[in-house]
Symmetry: C2
Subunit: 174 residues, 2 copies
């Protein structure tokens, strides 16, 4: 609705109680994703935590990525696979470990470990709550698990932060 | 189980994926409460965020309290009431505003505002996910809404942190 749109990037006057089903929901250009920022830094003015509700259609997944913030997942529905490359390899992520994830499970990502969450279930959606610290998210993405850490690309602002991100003003030196 | 108990306060070797239904669950001396620390500072070594799953039986509630961390709730089941005293009154919380909370709603607590979450539904449990920043929780509790801020009592470690809290060693000056 127009009201939702108008208040999307407002970090002032955020309502105390909000109906999640009325919050802005989008795929932000990522096929099979539904993302809602429940509590956001750029969107709502939170400074220390950010909370997302994400639904992945069968086959949908995150990029391979890493970040230096803490990240906790709570799986609300469905099953899937967490791919996690521990920091054992100094040059690139390397072959990841696979962890089955499932409804009513929780998992966390060790700081700076490359990872990917994938709905590997062929018929059911995977729904997760995601909690990150130190928002907004500063995410480095990889094309594949053998890409050197030094080649990973900083995607900032991240997909759902683009609309609300205000680049610092460029000073005119004249 | 013995395994769960043995690893309860371990902040090393936390499993990457954990079944929430197998995590330690307790009322920690508070009638009508079921609390699970999904991701904890003292319990699991998180430094920046903490995530709890709490279920309040009909009539169960938190103390009136405040804290300087950020706090976000996601209501998973049931209905209830958030009592929130905005910081308009300098000496004591004063009469709180009442907000209905409901399944699939989210709410947040402005930093340092006194508040209380109450399952005011007579027949249904209220289940919430709670996210706080800067753990472990440093909570000031009030007997009532007219108690002066200066008389609020620091409860540290908080209920579920008591078991895992290691007080700093006292130096022997001799
Ligand atoms: Zn991540
Ligand atoms: Zn609180």
């Amino acid at each position: 609705s127009a009201t939702v749109e108008a208040s999307y990037c407002s970090n002032e006057g955020v309502q105390t109680v909000r109906n999640i089903s009325e919050l802005h929901q989008d795929n932000f250009g990522r096929p099979g994703l539904s993302h809602i920022t429940i509590a956001g830094s750029l969107l709502h003015g939170f400074k220390e935590v950010e909370v997302w509700l994400q639904t992945f259609a069968p086959g949908a997944h995150t990029p391979i990525h890493r970040h230096s913030c803490e990240e906790v997942f709570v799986v609300l529905k469905g099953t899937g696979t967490l791919y996690l490359a521990t920091s054992s390899h100094p040059k690139h992520p390397g072959s990841p470990q696979e962890f089955p994830i499932f409804s009513n499970s929780t998992f966390h990502i060790p700081v700076n470990d490359a990872h990917q969450v994938w709905n590997t279930n062929e018929s059911e959606d995977l729904q997760v709550l995601v909690i990150i610290s130190r928002p907004p998210a500063k995410v480095f993405t990889y094309e594949d698990w053998l890409m050197p850490h030094t080649a990973a690309r900083l995607k900032f602002p991240y997909y759902w932060d683009e609309k609300c991100y205000q680049a610092p003003p460029v000073k005119d030196e004249l």
